[in-house]
């Protein structure tokens, strides 16, 4: 906290109960235990209570009360970012501001201009259901993570999907934010002081600075409403897949993908997944309790069982029908065929392979559960994600593979990664699953993450999204000027440091 005044939790909860009703506050023992749980190595973080606002005005009431009583709030939307923090706060003793329970309304869907306006509790599944109900003319971009994840929370944490609208923050337009000082802000064209706002969710770049980015991966305010752009649903989606036998084939895969994205010939991102990323969702590691990385023999056996090689590339096309797409797929087949090592898996075949069906669902804007199975690879409830990136340069990508594979193996963990490839850059989603109840495994997972974070930073590569345990670490990796600018904004917009102190390293 920026002042020395102690937090007065009792007075805060009394004020919230008075203003919002007693049912808006939950301090039951079970709730406090569960809201403190997460999957990270650092342990659980028991909050002081949970508050459920029902509107933007109620969020303002809560934030103002937090300022009055110096109480730290930790906003969550649906709390589904498993592996990055779940619903647990930056530190124990914060008050969870659970926006998902009551602020879960779809405020608007504009079918002609193809956008939706939502509150923080609106999930991918809820939006998908609503679009289907309205005739299935529009497609949302989804993650391959939990269908019950929140659209706003994912956008603000810089989450992404796989369709042409993959960049969730990039395809958002117009926010409503309760700042840390309790004031209300509308961004973009919503900043106009008018009763009717025509372009709030259609235009981002009208008069004045673009403030929206301030509320991604930050703790300056609470976003209570956001516009999100939607894509007209294509009548046909056809995926294509190529699998490569050897680990070092990654270099060639990246080289093959790049021109297809630079030209935008392929409209989806490429999912370039290694063997374990695809197969780990289908069962438990046969050597889960060995304390060592999976043996090469076991890895080869898994590849054989699931019909995939060391790396598998997935992409997709959209069109009016399958026949119209077929020539485009043929061009991609010809292109990958140059390699001589790629084995083609067509759309129909892929539909019967659960791990590839996940990709088809993702390209089709359909939420699905398949990838959550990754979490049971190493039983015991531990899971963190390390998300550095690589330029779309095969040699560099392969160098990073060698680096990470070595670090995983040194810590007795299984190298499990998917590179999500655009034109110039690929985000590497590295999964670490471990037994959280075993101190040795917990320590190895933690040490593995930290070693990779240091190694990549030393090579000039930063992470994207990060587990809450490592926010301070990553903020500490930034240049002094960045830190002082962030802290200055924090002081300006949240002078009493009531919004998620410590989140993203800023307090």
């Amino acid at each position: 906290m920026s002042t020395n005044l102690p937090a007065n939790f009792d007075a805060f909860f009394q004020e919230i109960a008075r203003s919002l009703g007693a049912e808006a506050v939950n301090r039951s023992e079970e709730t406090l235990i569960r809201y403190g749980e997460n999957t990270m190595p650092g342990g659980d973080r028991r909050p002081a209570g949970v508050v459920y606002p029902g509107s933007t005005a109620e969020v303002q009431t809560v934030v103002r009360a937090a300022n009055t009583h110096r109480v730290p709030l930790y906003p969550v939307s649906t709390g589904n970012n498993i592996g990055l923090g779940s619903r647990s706060a930056s530190t124990a003793g914060q008050v969870i501001l659970d926006l998902g329970r009551r602020m879960n309304r779809i405020l608007e869907i504009n079918d002609r201009l193809a956008y939706a306006v939502v509150e923080p509790g609106v999930t991918y599944q809820a939006m998908y259901d609503e679009l289907v109900r309205r005739g299935n003319q529009l497609m949302l971009d989804v993650t391959s993570g939990p269908p019950q994840g929140g659209m706003i929370g994912n956008s603000l944490d810089k989450g992404a999907g796989y369709t042409p609208y993959f960049d969730h923050f990039g395809f958002s337009c117009g926010m409503e934010v309760v700042l840390g000082n309790g004031e209300l802000l509308r961004t973009g064209d919503g900043s106009l002081d008018a009763d009717t706002l025509v372009n709030w969710h259609t235009s981002k770049y009208s008069f004045g600075p673009i403030l929206d980015g301030l509320f991604t991966q930050s703790n300056f305010g609470v976003v209570t409403r956001m516009g999100l752009w939607l894509m007209p649903r294509p009548p046909a989606v056809q995926s294509f897949h190529f699998t490569f036998p050897d680990d070092d084939d990654l270099a060639e895969v990246i080289e093959l993908c790049r021109p297809l994205k630079l030209s935008n010939f392929v409209p989806t991102l490429f999912r370039v997944a290694n063997d374990l990323y695809l197969t780990a969702s289908e069962g438990e590691s046969p050597e889960a309790r060995s304390g060592r990385s999976l043996s090469n023999d076991a890895r080869k056996a898994l590849q054989q069982k699931h019909g995939v090689g060391a790396w598998t590339v997935s992409g997709g096309f959209y069109g009016p029908n399958e026949a119209a797409i077929a020539p485009m797929i043929q061009r991609v087949r010809d292109h990958f065929g140059k390699s001589g090592k790629a084995r083609y898996i067509d759309h129909q075949q892929a539909q019967s392979v659960p791990t590839l069906q996940v990709a088809i669902n993702a390209f089709s804007g359909k939420p699905s559960l398949g990838e959550l199975g990754l979490l049971k690879w190493h039983p015991g409830g531990g899971n963190i994600w390390f998300t550095p990136g690589t330029p779309m340069d095969g040699a560099v990508a392969n160098e990073f593979q060698t680096l990470c594979r070595g670090i995983y193996e040194r810590h007795g963990l299984d190298y499990t990664v998917m590179n999500v490839c655009g034109a110039r850059f690929a985000r590497g989603l590295h999964v670490i699953t471990f037994n959280r109840e075993d101190q040795d495994e917990r320590q190895r997972a933690d040490a593995c993450y930290r070693e990779m974070a240091d190694a990549f930073a030393a090579r000039g590569v930063f992470v994207g999204r990060a587990p809450l345990d490592y926010h301070a670490l990553h903020f500490g990796q930034t240049m002094p000027g960045f830190q002082s600018a962030c802290n200055a904004v924090k002081r300006a917009l949240d002078p009493n440091d009531v919004i998620a102190p410590g989140r993203y390293g800023m307090a």
């Binding site: 999957t39 939990p146 009016p320 029908n321 959550l372 049971k376």
Partner: protein, 443 residues
């Protein structure tokens, strides 16, 4: 999750199984997102992982469970939505069943509760007895307001329209050449409430070349007593069915057909319930009627493209994972299938749940009804008698079984339940069921 059972406790196979299941739960919390009772209450003890913790404590402690634990476990729908969502596939179904057995054996419920449960467990599995009470109940319905809580609920839940038809054991020959020989689980409560379902099923199967057998001495599947913790009763029903169908299998049986998905989930799990080879054989032969028809192929349908809101029974989507087949068959029948938003959510029927937990069941029923209405359907269809009754009650309009539509499409009569419904002439649409048509918008 760590457990602390003693070696003596673990000698009990039921406890040993519960221990194994409990250890797989790691509290990711995905289950809470899709658990109806948690979503409505935000009470951790009303969530699967909260209940799992309560079960662990109850079984570890042994003996008489506390009333709070019993209340939270009683309010579980056993919809198994949590099992679909769970990343590590905790076997919640068998865990909650074990907990219910423990409660039944150790907890002294109040007199009213005991009587109510005994009444349901005795009457519902016996269709003729149920029919007699149903008829008496219909006469008494105008007096419902004068009755105490649960009895009032019982009476108000009696459907306005019942078409009982309790089948005796018999063989219905195939039309034309016999291609398959199948046994049909005639069911218990369903026969008293809606005989049209079995009639349509039998017509449909015969039309598709099936000889249909109602096996002597087959009856209630045991699901209702099982989910009330009366495991011994459930096993008794299950053993009788296994014996009955094994006799038929000796003659030759291609499948055991179930048209009430709640029963289907239980019969498919006979291997676990009885733990013997015959039970496993029977379980492996069992198919929901829509699964079987999808396998053998539905004759070409000719219905106009009415909008059908298809409601997934939990036992179908979460219990049996039969999700696409009913939709594909409805489309093959010429109908336009519309999905109901929040389809992973229970309608509140859940066996006897809407009779034992009426307040929660009412909330869920109303929520589901609102979602169904939002799809602007001509027809509402589902595959489980419990859901049909619950939905019709909260919608105030008829709900048909999917087999009635398959039957109608392939030459059977229009479902009688739709007599009071005026179906709109289907409008020409520019889209298919799963995506816009090729001439829609830019595409």
């Amino acid at each position: 999750m760590q457990t602390h059972f003693t070696a003596t406790q673990l000698q009990d196979p039921g406890i040993a199984e519960a221990d194994t299941i409990l250890r797989t739960c790691v509290h990711y919390g995905f289950c809470t997102n899709t658990c109806p009772t948690y979503v409505l209450t935000r009470d951790e003890n009303e969530s699967p992982r909260g209940r799992i913790d309560l079960i662990r404590a109850m079984l570890e402690r042994g003996g008489v469970p506390d009333a709070k634990t019993v209340a939270h476990l009683d309010s579980c729908l056993s919809c198994l939505s949590c099992m679909t969502t769970c990343a590590v596939k905790v076997d919640y179904a068998h865990l909650i069943d074990r907990a219910r057995v423990h409660i039944e054996q150790h907890f002294n419920r109040g007199l009213t509760d005991r009587l109510m449960r005994a009444l349901l467990a005795t009457v519902l599995p016996r269709p003729r007895l149920f029919l007699a009470l149903l008829s008496a109940g219909r006469l008494a319905k105008p007096l419902a307001a004068l009755l105490p809580g649960r009895l009032r609920v019982l009476l108000t839940m009696i459907p306005a329209r019942i078409t009982p038809d309790v089948l005796t054991s018999q063989v219905f020959p195939a039309e034309g050449t016999r291609r398959y020989r199948v046994a049909l689980l005639a069911g218990c409560a369903q026969q008293a409430l809606d005989g049209d379902i079995n009639a349509a099923t039998i017509r449909l199967l015969r039309r598709h070349g099936c000889e249909v057998v109602i096996a002597p001495e087959s009856g209630c599947c045991g699901s209702l007593p099982l989910h009330m913790g009366r495991e011994a009763d459930a096993k008794g029903y299950a053993r009788a069915n296994v014996a009955a169908w094994m006799r038929e299998q000796a003659v030759g049986l291609d499948a055991i057909i179930v048209n009430a998905s709640g029963c289907g989930t239980t019969v498919k799990d006979y291997g676990h319930l009885l733990g013997d080879d015959d039970a496993r054989r029977i379980a492996a032969l069992t198919k929901d009627v829509s699964e079987f028809l999808a396998d053998i192929g539905l004759q070409a349908g000719h219905l106009p493209a009415y909008r059908v809101a298809y409601h997934d029974p939990c036992s179908m989507q979460h219990g049996q994972k039969v999700i696409e087949q009913p939709r594909a068959l409805l489309r093959a029948a010429g109908l336009r299938v519309v999905d109901v938003p929040e389809r992973h959510f229970c309608c509140g029927s859940a066996g006897t749940y809407n009779l034992l937990q009426p307040a929660m069941a009412k909330q869920l029923g109303e929520r589901k009804a609102a979602h169904i209405v939002s799809t602007d359907p001509d027809i509402i269809a589902t595959g489980n008698i419990g859901c049909m009754t619950q939905l019709a009650h909260h919608l105030g309009r008829p709900v048909v079984h999917t087999v009635e539509l398959f039957d109608w499409a392939t030459g059977g009569p229009r479902p009688a339940a739709l007599d009071s419904v005026t179906l709109r002439e289907p409008a020409p649409e520019i889209q298919t069921d799963s995506a816009p048509a090729a001439n829609a918008g830019f595409w």
